[in-house]
Structure formats: C-alpha cells, structure tokens
C-alpha cells in the first residue's frame, strides 16, 4: 500500500506555480508558460486543479490548456502528462488518480506532454498515440469470428496461468512506458499483449506470427530499442512486469528461428 505513504493534513489553501508546455499545433514551436494558482485543495485531483486553471484562463480571455483525459478513474488510459520529469507524476498511478496531497504548498510543478518521436504533439499536452492502435491491429487478437465458439468451460485454464495472463492484460495503453524510456521504446506495451495471448491456450495457434508482426509494426512506428533499464516498469501505473519483455524476447526469438514466412526487410 505505497499509495498511503506520505498522506498530509487536508487543506484547501495551497499555492502552486505551474510551468505548463503550450504549443498551438504540430506545425508551430512550443514553450513553457508560468501560471500561479491559489487555493488549491489537497483533495483535488491533479486534473481538477487543471480544470480550475482552465476556467480561470477562459474568464481572463486566454485559451484553455488542452490535455487528454476521460474516465478519471485510472482505467481508460487517455490521460497522460509528464509531471516534474515523471510520466503521470510522483506516484505510480495515472495522472487522473494523482491528488494534490502529493504536493506541498509553494511547489513549482512542471507539466509537459509525453516526449517521443512516435507520439507527435497535437496541441499543448495532447499527443497522438495512434501508433499503439496500429501495433494492436498488426496482431493483438485471436483470429476467431463471432459465434461458433466452444462452451467457455471446455477450455480449462490453470488459475495460475489465468492470473498471469490477467496481470499482463491490465495494460491501459497510456504510453507512460514509452515516455519513461530514454529510447522511447514500446517494448513493455507490446510485451503485455503478446504475453497475455501467449500464455493462454486460445492465443497459442498464432503466437509466432503475432510476436513477429507486432514487433515489426513497433519498429516501423519509430519506437526505440529496449536496453532493459526497467524505467518502464517503474513508471507503469498498472504494474506491468518486465518479465513480459523477457517473454516477448523468447517468443520473438523462437518465432524467427522457426518462421516459415521469411520476411525480407532490406539492407541489414
């Protein structure tokens, strides 16, 4: 329960200085702007604090800061934000679940978008993560159609395996792993889906092809190489484990050794 460490007395009177990345669109250059903000409550979520800022800005006739968010309960993966040099800020959680009680009165907080070549900035703190969708489209599924499937209990799965697959399947696709990585590698994201389906009997028939195709798409999107520093695991709000990357490497290696579809990739 590391979440409960460092709980502070409730107050609704913190003063915070925000340094926020502003960028009109992908074609223009961005820069930081500084906004002081008062009467911040420890019970506010980080995004609620940004709501307050935006309402103040609009009242003053300034454009609101654009940021992605939706469910605000830590599961949709839409919120991002690189806060004080860490994806999703100081706690190992999503930005929407980060509360102002994690900060002190008088703090200066720097807020940036995810920084990665494969995640171009759309506006302010909003980035384009469609590369993740394209990787999933390359093979993150079991090729069955609706209907005509066996009874659910005809595929018994040992609890341990089901639990392990579940632990990999909880990835929310937020991209914190990429933002945390000095190489902007997407290995943790890719390995989560590959692991889930490689562990389960339903995913076994296509496991080789899946690993190869998803890795090829990842490379094509411009994500960097994995050097096993573990920064991704440390920042993942859902605790996706590095063992998934090890499993992806095994899957990929065994696939490329036995692949019957030789893929010609050019020069190297």
């Amino acid at each position: 329960m590391n979440l409960l460490n460092g709980l502070k007395e409730a107050t609704n009177n913190m003063k915070i200085t925000l340094k926020v990345w502003r960028q009109k669109n992908n074609a223009t250059k961005g820069g930081f702007k500084v906004y002081p903000i008062e009467h911040v409550s420890t019970d506010m979520s980080f995004l609620e604090m940004l709501d307050v800022l935006n309402n103040d800005l609009v009242r003053k006739g300034e454009d609101a800061v654009a940021f992605d968010h939706d469910c605000r309960e830590g599961i949709c993966g839409m919120c991002s934000l690189y806060i004080n040099g860490k994806p999703h800020g100081p706690q190992q959680t999503t930005t929407c679940q980060l509360h102002m009680r994690s900060f002190k009165d008088g703090d200066t907080i720097t807020v940036e978008p995810w920084r990665a070549k494969a995640f171009p900035v759309i506006r302010d703190l909003v980035v384009d993560r469609t590369a993740f969708d394209r990787i999933q489209q390359a093979g993150g599924y079991v090729s069955i159609n609706t209907g005509g499937v066996p009874d659910a209990n005809e595929i018994p799965i040992p609890k341990k395996i089901a639990d392990e697959a579940f632990d990999a399947a909880v990835c929310i696709g937020c991209g914190a792993c990429v933002a945390a990585c000095k190489n902007a590698s997407a290995m943790l994201f890719v390995s989560a889906k590959v692991s889930q389906l490689a562990l389960l009997p339903q995913g076994k028939p296509e496991r080789k092809e899946r690993a190869e195709k998803m890795v090829a798409q990842m490379d094509a999107e411009g994500f960097g190489a994995c050097t096993n520093t573990g920064a991704c695991e440390a920042e993942c709000p859902k605790g996706i484990s590095l063992t998934n990357i090890a499993r992806l490497n095994r899957e990929y290696l065994s696939a490329s050794l036995t692949s019957y579809e030789v893929e010609v990739k050019g020069g190297d």
Binding site: N55, A64, T146, G147
Partner: protein, 640 residues
C-alpha cells in the same frame, strides 16, 4: 405516430429463435455492397462493428476519444451476468429473465429481456474464445460471484476490471477487422448530426476534433452505440467525455426518446469532497458481498472513518440487513441508494458533509483474513485510498449514491431500430432492456448482446429490403445538415460571454440532482423546468468559448455537448412530471408504500413513454407503448 415494437408472436422462449428464422438474409456476396456506420466503440459499438465486418459488410466506425479502446465501457468493474448455471445453484435462462424483469420493476419488455437472457450464455463463450482472462477456480474452470437483485451466483468477472477486459476483447476483434480493411476507423471524430434521405438514415455529419473539419459520411444504415447521458448531472460516474449529443441530434431528426427520466443512482460511490469535484468514482457493487452498510443509531454529525471503530455494535444500525433480511446488503441499487439517502435525510449520515454511510469490511477481514479481502478487492481498496486519503483496511469506507447509468434512451423496436428507418441504437444508448432499474452486471451483458448477437441478425432484414445503391454525400440533405452544424458552431463561438462551459454545466447538474435525482416531487419538477429554461437562455447569451473552429478546441466540444444536455434535462423533467407513479430508480414522493418503498401504478403507467421532438422550444409529444405482461405476474417488488 403508431409505435410498432415488432415483438414476434409465440411462446416467450421461442420468440427469438423463430424471429431469427423469419428475418430476411443478405446473401454473402451481396454483403460487401452495403456500408454500415457505427458511432461509438464501447462494448456495443466495437462488438457490432467487428461482427458486421466479419459478416462482410463495409463498416465505418467513429469515436471521439483518441482510440476505440478508451470508450467508457472500459470502466465497468464488477462483472457480467450469464445464465450458465456453472455453480449448480438453480440458475436458468428463465431465472435471469425473471430477475431482470423484476429488478427493472416491471417496466421492460418481456420479449427483449428473455432474448437478453438467452444470448447471455453465448457472450461468455465468445469472450473466453477471444482470450478474455476471466477469474478461474483452481480446477481451471470459470469462477462466479453474486450481485445485487439475485440469489444465485451468475456473475463472471475479471478481478475489479471486467469492463476493461471485455472491451479489450471487443477492441481486439475490431482491430482484426481494421487490419483486414473491413472497418475504417475514425478516432478523435465526433458525430454532430444524422442525415436522412427519403425518410431513411443514410449518413452522418462529423467533426474532426483535431482540425475542426466537418465531414459527411454516407451509408445504408447508421448504428448509434453512444452510451448513456448520466453527465446531464455534471457529477456522475461517467467519463468526462460521455455525452448525449449523437442521441439527441438523432432525436431531433425524428427518433423518439424512451423513458428519459429513468436514471440509476448507484449506492456505492465515493462521496463528494468539495466544489472542485469533477466526477464521482464508483466502487463496484461486488463490495456489498462482503461489506456491511451502516450508520450510527443516533446521529453523530461529522463522525469519521477513523472514529467508527469506537461505536459499539449495539449503537450501529445495519439498516439494509435490518429492513431487508433476505437480500441484506445485496438489495438492488435503487433500494440501497434510496435507503442511504433516507438515513442521511434523518441526519444520521457520516463524514464531514453528513452525506455518506459506512461500508464496513471489519467482519470480512476477521472471517477471511486481510489477504483474502485484498485478493478480491485490492484494486478497489487502493483506488479508495488514493482518492480519499483514508485506509479502508483500518476503518470503514464512506460511500454515497451517485448517478451511474441511464435506463432511458432512444426508443427501439425488437430489431433495435429507432423510429427512423435505418437508424439503430444499441447498448446504453437505447431504452430497451432494463425497465426502470438496471441490475448490477447487466449493462455489459446488454452491450455485448446487442452488438455480437442481435444486430448481426436484425440489420440484414432491413438491408435486404432496401436498394444497394449508395447515396452521394453531394446530395442537398448532407449539405443542409452540414450548414446547420456549422451555424451552431459559429453561433456558440460568437457569443463571447462571461460564463465558462463548466460553470453552466455544474448549474444544470445541480438542478437535475436536486429536483430530478433520487426523489422527485410535482412542485420540485415544475420549479426545475423553469430553472432549466432560464439556464438555456443564459447559455445561448452568455457562454464563453474562445478560439476558433479550425483547431483542437476542447471548450467548444464541451459547449456543444452541454447545449444538448440542457435540452435533454428539460425532457427528463417532463417525463418525470408525467409519470406520477414510483418505479425502480424513478421515485415520486407522492407515490410510496406505508414503509417508504416505491409504489407502482400498473393501471395507469404500464407503458414506455416515448417522446417526439416537435421543433425548437415546442413541447414534445408523448407516445405510449403499452407493456403487455403475458408470461409474468407482476407483484409489488419486495426484497424483504
């Protein structure tokens, strides 16, 4: 207008089977000649888009989020019901049907609900085949738990993240079809109107949220899978982007709106902490399997969770167990919510606002150990701690009801078609299967039933009967719709007023919560109507939306959604005023039993209220679809 529900003749258990046989088919080679537009990519939308593409139709799918995987189905926690009877505890299709009808307080169609119970078993098979990692027993078979309103264990779950796992399953099926080129996916794209050609739905107008560009898309049918409208209350458990715009614009184009006042207030949510609050967080109903709900017998204002352990057993009122001994803490949501409100109205609420009751796990931790409780609910306990700053392993949680789901929605017939030919509504966006109250773990079931197992059959019957010819988006109907959307956008941008969109939305939410929330009265609803009309004027004369249409403009997106919520709010109030009975989540104080339970009036209100839009600022016209109970005998709902 005569509402034709198209309910098939014959014995209840044979209706769907016979209907499927009687539906016209589109032959496999012809399916590729039809284009289907699917708006929304939650459980209903993603499953429909994938299944239709698998059959061979060309699908265009749309979502306003940056990825189809973000749709709010992802946030559903507790589980999905299915009449598998794997537990050998007496479940059956008929029992699931019966529980759902009763849970909905006898305001749903028998035929639809029976079909839902029938296909529930196929859904589990489908999801397992996709690789959805449901919870399992040590023997390797699927595990179940029980949920409110049922006395059997029929809920399948994936820890506290069932919606996520089911949606990622549907998303994977959708991805496969995108890769196959059968689905063209449009993300960050919002539908702003539906286009009718010769009285049939033949396309939509969308706005690219990144560039602001308006676009026309044509097709042979349009499916709205756009979710519920709980955000009319501003504070709800819905995602911030969830909105009624697609449904509302369809309503204004002729689709009747069914039972708009039926909203579900979920009993186990984290209480409001202050004025900055932007949304409410639900704690899964599954917590009521092990948590006991209580307040002090004598009012103790400001009692905190830390002080709760100082209250001796004899001074605690476990009010749900006391009043409903056979269902106890697992009474349906409407009953649990209303009772929590009654305790707080009596002044026995706890916490700094007095608007909370305790949900206590002390006994469960004593009985099963902290480890076992953590294994079942760990992520929920963490989430609670993160949001409130309290440790739920040491003291009880504090909970209060919050808006969670809307049973009302676009009126659809048995084929899921609205009153506009070729326009369908699936999942939470339609009104059809939950009556006046939805049971826990039934929303996921309905979304996937509609998308995987109903629409793939019923849409063929419609498409087989219309021309294969495509309509061009150059037609005047598209141009006219696009001009209208453009005008609305320009009007909003030119107001340049003083009030932010959030401020106005909060104000609407407060009106709805106070007068059209957990309990409603004639006088209160009349007052609300006036206030909403005033708010509408305020919005259109004083809203502040900066920037232009030709860029990512989140304030503009919100403003357009709030404009539609305001109009919907007024219709909800009209509907609540009209229905002078209490049923399920709709509680009219004038209609209650001597011990304060909802009192139905079957003689006068056994109908679906379907409202027809008659023009801007005109009163809507009520149409009634009588609900005929052929197979079930209605009784006063009791969980005692």
């Amino acid at each position: 207008m005569k509402l034709d529900s198209k309910i098939p003749e014959g014995p209840l258990a044979e209706k769907w089977t016979k209907h499927k046989f009687n539906l016209k088919l589109v032959n496999p080679a012809n399916k590729r000649k039809y284009d289907v537009i699917v708006v929304g990519t939650g459980l209903a939308g993603a499953s429909a888009a994938a299944s239709l593409a698998e059959l061979g139709y060309n699908v265009k799918a749309f979502c306003f989020q940056d990825s189809p995987r973000r749709a709010h189905s992802i946030a559903a926690q507790g589980g999905i019901n299915a009449a598998k009877n794997y537990q050998n505890d007496g479940d059956s299709v008929y029992r699931l049907f019966y529980d759902t009808i009763k849970g909905g307080d006898y305001r749903a169609r028998e035929s639809n609900v029976h079909r839902l119970a029938e296909v529930s078993v196929n859904i589990i098979d489908q999801c397992v085949a996709q690789g959805v990692p449901f919870a399992r027993e040590y023997g390797g078979l699927l595990a179940n738990r029980s949920f409110g309103g049922a006395q059997v264990s029929r809920t399948f779950y994936a820890r506290g993240q069932t919606g996520q796992q089911l949606l990622l399953g549907a998303y994977s099926a959708l991805n496969r079809q995108i890769a196959n080129g059968k689905v063209k996916m449009y993300t960050r794209t919002e539908m702003l109107d539906v286009v009718l050609v010769d009285g049939k739905a033949r396309g939509i107008i969308t706005r690219d949220l990144v560039t602001g560009k308006l676009e026309s898309h044509s097709g042979h049918a349009v499916l709205l899978c756009t979710g519920g409208y709980g955000n009319v209350f501003f504070l709800s458990t819905n995602a911030k982007g969830s909105n009624v715009t697609a449904s509302w614009r369809a309503h204004k184009k002729g689709a009747l709106f069914g039972n708009p006042c039926y909203t579900q207030i979920h009993p186990t949510c984290i209480p409001v902490s202050g004025d900055h609050q932007s949304k409410l967080t639900l704690m899964s109903e599954s917590l009521r399997n092990d948590g006991r709900v209580w307040v002090p017998k004598v009012a103790k204002p400001g009692l905190t969770a830390k002080e709760a352990k100082n209250i001796p057993e004899a001074d605690r009122d476990y009010f749900l167990e006391r009043k409903y001994p056979s269902f106890g803490n697992l009474v349906p949501r409407d009953v649990a919510s209303r009772n929590a409100k009654m305790m707080c109205d009596e002044g026995r609420g706890v916490g700094k606002t007095g608007l909370a009751v305790f949900l206590d796990f002390t006994d469960a931790i004593k009985r099963d150990g902290k480890k076992a409780v953590e294994a079942k609910y760990g992520n929920l306990f963490d989430m609670y701690a993160q949001i409130t700053g309290d440790n739920p392993y040491e003291g009880p949680m504090m909970i209060y009801p919050a808006v969670h789901y809307t049973m009302g929605g676009l009126w659809v017939d048995y084929n899921l078609m609205t009153t506009v030919p070729g326009l369908y509504a699936l999942g939470e966006a339609n009104f059809s299967d939950h009556g006046a109250n939805r049971l826990g773990a039934s929303a996921l079931m309905q979304g996937l039933a509609d998308g995987y197992f109903v629409i793939p059959y019923t849409i063929g019957d419609y498409l087989a009967g219309i021309s294969q010819e495509k309509v061009s988006t150059d037609r005047p109907e598209f141009k006219e719709a696009m001009d209208k959307v453009n005008n609305t956008i320009n009007t909003i941008l030119n107001i340049k007023g003083k009030r932010t969109v959030d401020e106005l939305h909060r104000e609407l939410g407060l009106i709805m919560w106070n007068y059209c929330g957990m309990s409603r009265t004639d006088a209160g609803l009349r007052e609300a109507k006036g206030k909403i009309q005033q708010l509408k004027k305020e919005f259109w004369s004083n809203v502040a939306v900066l920037g232009s249409n030709n860029e990512l403009n989140q304030e503009l997106e919100k403003a357009m959604r709030v404009a539609d919520f305001i109009e919907l709010g007024e219709l909800m109030v009209d509907d609540a005023l009209n229905r002078t009975e209490s049923c399920g989540g709709h509680f009219r104080e004038e209609s209650q039993t001597p011990d304060g339970e909802a009192l139905r009036n079957d003689d006068d209100f056994s109908y679906v209220a379907a409202w027809e839009f008659k023009g801007e600022n005109q009163p809507e016209v009520l149409h009634k679809e009588e609900l005929n109970y052929e197979f079930i005998k209605r009784t006063q709902r009791s969980y005692k």
